[in-house]
């Protein structure tokens, strides 16, 4: 049962990410709701969704480098995440793969393509490898999401969290986001195929330093 549930959540997260983060170009066709680029960015955003503790650390880090951000807002976001025990309850474990790639999302993408939620487009290099992948979210998909998914109480958390991530991290490319993650030893030094350690202590320390407040 657990694998069925997990597969379901993978599909749910990816489609909500694509729905939330896709852009709506002027030249979009009638059948396309929006377009998202690229695979690395999907995985980087998925990572922030799956690890609320890393998200908090990234927010604190942004605060250091970007003075236009509102510290109080970020403070409250992080307090709320820890108050709701998200680093324990909302973490969706994944294994780190070699070369910094993430869990493969090919199967999930294939599913969404087969049911007509996505159209998939990519360029092929001379060695046969695909690059520069485009994901087009279909209007049919967007309508179904609006109609049947958005208001389900247990799913709203995913939409809210994606909105939050979008607000602070949408401006980074997939490669930039990946590079940011690699700055953390909890992520970068673990061996192939093992689980990622949490960064709760780092967050608590940094938070205490900045806001003089002990997170629960």
């Amino acid at each position: 049962m657990d694998s069925s549930l997990r597969k379901f959540r993978d599909r749910l997260r990816i489609i909500i990410i694509l729905y939330t983060f896709c852009e709506h170009p002027d030249n979009s066709t009638d059948s396309i709701y929006g377009t998202f680029r690229s695979e690395i960015k999907i995985q980087a955003l998925d990572f922030l969704l799956r690890y609320p503790d890393f998200l908090c650390l990234e927010l604190l880090d942004l605060l250091d480098s970007d003075h236009t951000l509102d510290p109080d807002e970020i403070r409250n976001i992080i307090i709320d995440i820890y108050h709701k025990k998200e680093p324990e309850l909302r973490v969706e474990e994944m294994e780190k793969f070699f070369h910094g790639a993430y869990e493969s999302i090919d199967e999930v993408i294939a599913f969404h393509v087969s049911v007509g939620f996505l159209k998939h487009e990519s360029k092929k290099r001379s060695d046969g490898k695909t690059y520069d992948k485009y994901y087009h979210v279909t209007k049919a998909c967007a309508e179904r999401i609006d109609q049947f998914l958005k208001d389900i109480p247990s799913v709203t958390w995913f939409f809210d969290r994606c909105k939050l991530i979008k607000k602070y991290f949408d401006r980074f490319s997939g490669t930039e986001l990946k590079a940011r993650q690699y700055r953390y030893s909890e992520y970068s030094v673990i061996s192939y195929k093992s689980h990622i350690r949490n960064v709760n202590d780092k967050v608590r320390d940094k938070f205490k330093q900045r806001f003089n407040y002990q997170l629960s």
Binding site: M1, F8, L12, E88, L89, F111, V113, V115, I152, V155
Partner: protein, 718 residues
């Protein structure tokens, strides 16, 4: 009959010959007759050696501490290394006590000892001497090991051991007598006699004293105070030293010469007395009497002064009782310190155990919390699935994700009828999770969470309770620690104790220095006795013809002189070869010990040892302290070698060497001493047993570590 024996009848005949005009053969026979005969001595070794196996003594120290000293002893050299006054000599004195019955243990230490056990071997037989010092000394000499003795003692079976008891005793005097008899029997020693003047002013006559086993033991136990002498202090007193030497050598004719000499001393004394009386008589005048009286008065006055002087008590009693009082106080404080330390320690143990329990509880709490988190997460996921699963169900397959070709209507229709995948043509295996199953899982998770929350409550309660308890214990530990550090320091008392020790030591030194006054007093007592006697005789004014007695005594003296002279000559002849061997052995030893300036050793007919050093003859007493120490060790080792290598003499092959090189010796005299002893250990190995007590750390290298008993600085031997 051994070749050293003499025929008594022939001897009487020989002595009678020059006196035959003046006395009959029978009378000479009577004068020369000795109950134990003339052939009591034999130089042939009995091949017996004394070696100690184990010493164990126990009791209670003045500090109140119970102790057991238990030490296995080995053949060869055994070394005790500890600072001075830390019990080395006490160990040796306890051994001396158990072997001779003579108690020279320091008075303050004596009270510490309840029981003494000494296991030793004579030849193949093992003995254990047991002394119970509680009350009057009593005990026994058993033929068994200490281990056996202890096992019989534990089983309360000592009284049933009649056959294994050599002797028993119920007082120190009895012990001394029986142990002397035992060792005399074992090593064929016997009592040699010597004469001495009585120190009592009432008596004028010569007393005869015996050389006891304890005196012979001085050739085994070489005390530090006696390194100045070849045998021991006052060895010239009655020529005891030389007599020990004669006894150890077992030289033929020792017994008759000793007995006849005693007889001669007594006769000479009688003659002297008669002459004195005669002299007194013939010289009697009023003037003489007045002079004597005047002299008598002077001597008496001097004696009174001497008495006064020697009455000055060098009493350390006051210091000793002050010392004991402070010691008691120190003990009491130490006891309180220990009680406080123990209380503090116990409370700390409770604190640690509670801390441990709390840590376990906190860990439990964390585990339960983790479990609740894990279950809550599952609950969230199940709920998510329940609510949103339908979003992905009943979706038509529209496009092949591989080639992005749209799935044709006919294929869709075929899928409905054949229930095979319109893309791959396989039968789908993946099933939607059953609603009932989900519900059941959600229910189960809820129950588990409830269970864990209850546990969490209990653990939280326990943590609160034990936390409060721990706080109380911490307060108690802190209070006990404060009590502990508030205990008074013993520095002042310890300083005072040291000061008193020094004072007591000083008194003992003074007392020693005052010895000359005592000696003078002794002399005055003797003078006074002579004067009194002379005056008494004068007063008697009784004329008696003592000439006949005098003539008879003088004849007797002449006969004894002649007999002794003959025996002396005979003995020189008989013993020539033994003494030659001994001279060579001693020379070899002293040379080996670095005294290469000595080129010749001689032992004369009176058993005086003399040396030729740098071509000049020197006496032992003229040597430097360092030389004396070497010569003395060489001398005793030679006696033992005489037995080992030449089967002559009867030294028990056991030596105690207490503090060779004690503080009164200058360092240059000590130089090489440890090498010398190391050399002895290597040369003789198991053929003898030597005990050495020393404060010198370099002595650690003499023998193997199992035979070296080292104590740290200031640490007691027991």
């Amino acid at each position: 009959m051994s070749n050293t024996d003499i025929n008594f009848k022939e001897f009487v005949k020989y002595v009678h010959e020059p006196f035959k005009e003046r006395i009959t053969f029978e009378e000479v026979n009577k004068i020369l007759f000795l109950k134990q005969g003339y052939n009591k001595d034999s130089p042939t070794s009995l091949g017996k050696s004394l070696s100690l196996n184990r010493l164990r003594f126990s009791g209670k120290k003045v500090t109140g501490e119970d102790y057991i000293y238990d030490q296995s002893l080995s053949k060869g050299i055994n070394v005790w290394i500890a600072d001075n006054h830390k019990g080395k000599s006490t160990i040796f004195k306890i051994i001396k006590f158990a072997i001779t019955g003579t108690d020279s243990i320091k008075r303050d230490i004596k009270a510490w000892i309840d029981e003494i056990l000494l296991e030793f071997n004579i030849g193949q037989t093992t003995y254990t001497c047991f002394i119970d010092r509680r009350g009057r000394d009593r005990g026994a000499l058993y033929r068994m090991t200490i281990a056996n003795f202890l096992s019989f003692k534990d089983d309360q079976k000592l009284d049933s051991l009649d056959e294994d008891v050599e002797f028993d005793f119920k007082s120190m005097k009895q012990f001394e007598e029986k142990v002397q008899e035992f060792f005399f029997e074992q090593f064929s020693f016997y009592t040699l006699k010597y004469t001495q003047k009585s120190s009592s002013k009432e008596e004028f006559e010569l007393n005869t004293s015996n050389l006891s086993w304890a005196t012979y033991f001085k050739s085994i136990y070489l005390e530090s105070s006696n390194y100045e002498y070849l045998f021991f202090d006052k060895e010239n007193f009655g020529a005891q030293g030389k007599k020990i030497f004669e006894m150890i050598l077992g030289l033929p004719l020792t017994y008759p010469i000793n007995m006849l000499s005693i007889q001669l001393d007594k006769i000479s004394e009688d003659i002297g007395r008669i002459k004195l009386i005669d002299k007194t008589k013939t010289e009697t005048t009023v003037a003489k009497k007045q002079e004597l009286e005047k002299k008598y008065a002077t001597v008496n006055a001097e004696l009174a002064d001497a008495n006064k002087l020697t009455n000055v008590t060098f009493s350390e009693k006051a210091f000793v009782s002050e010392y004991n009082a402070i010691q008691n106080k120190v003990n009491e404080t130490r006891k309180q310190q220990r009680v406080a330390e123990e209380a503090h320690r116990l409370e700390q143990v409770r604190q640690r155990s509670l801390e441990e329990e709390l840590a376990n509880l906190v860990e439990d709490k964390q585990k339960i919390q983790n479990e609740i988190n894990r279950l809550t997460k599952q609950e969230l996921n199940v709920e998510l699935y329940r609510q949103a699963e339908s979003f992905f169900t009943n979706l038509d397959i529209k496009v092949c994700p591989h080639c992005e070709t749209e799935v044709s209507e006919s294929k869709k229709a075929h899928e409905h009828t054949s229930h095979t995948c319109s893309l791959c043509g396989e039968k789908p295996t993946e099933q939607k999770v059953d609603e009932a199953e989900l519900k059941e899982k959600a229910e189960r998770i809820k129950q588990e969470i409830t269970g864990h929350q209850q546990r969490l409550q209990t653990v939280n309660k326990n943590i609160t309770n034990q936390g409060q308890n721990l706080e109380k214990i911490r307060v108690a530990v802190a209070a006990l620690y404060n009590q502990l550090v508030a205990m008074p320091s013993l520095q002042t008392e310890n300083d005072k104790l040291k000061e008193l020790e020094d004072k007591i030591e000083a008194i003992n030194r003074d007392r020693k220095n005052q010895q000359q006054f005592f000696d003078k007093k002794d002399q005055l007592i003797k003078d006074e006795a002579v004067l009194k006697f002379q005056l008494d005789e004068l007063k008697k004014v009784k004329q008696g013809d003592q000439n006949a007695d005098l003539i008879a005594l003088q004849l007797k003296k002449e006969i004894l002189d002649y007999a002794l002279l003959s025996l002396g000559k005979k003995r020189i002849k008989l013993n020539e070869s033994i003494l030659k061997i001994l001279e060579e052995l001693i020379l070899k030893e002293v040379n080996a010990f670095g005294l290469t300036s000595i080129t010749r050793v001689d032992i004369d007919e009176k058993f005086n040892l003399s040396f030729t050093q740098n071509t000049v003859p020197v006496d032992f007493n003229e040597m430097e302290p360092g030389e004396k120490l070497r010569v003395k060790l060489g001398f005793y080792l030679s006696l033992i070698q005489l037995d080992i290598e030449h089967n002559l003499g009867r030294h028990p092959r056991f030596l105690i060497f207490d503090s060779p090189g004690s503080e009164e010796m200058v360092p240059k005299h000590l130089h090489g001493l440890s090498d010398m002893l190391k050399n002895v250990n290597e040369r003789f190995t198991d053929q003898l047993q030597i005990f050495i007590g020393s404060a010198l750390r370099e002595f650690e290298q003499i023998t193997t570590s199992d035979k070296t008993f080292v104590k740290n600085e200031d640490e007691f031997v027991f």
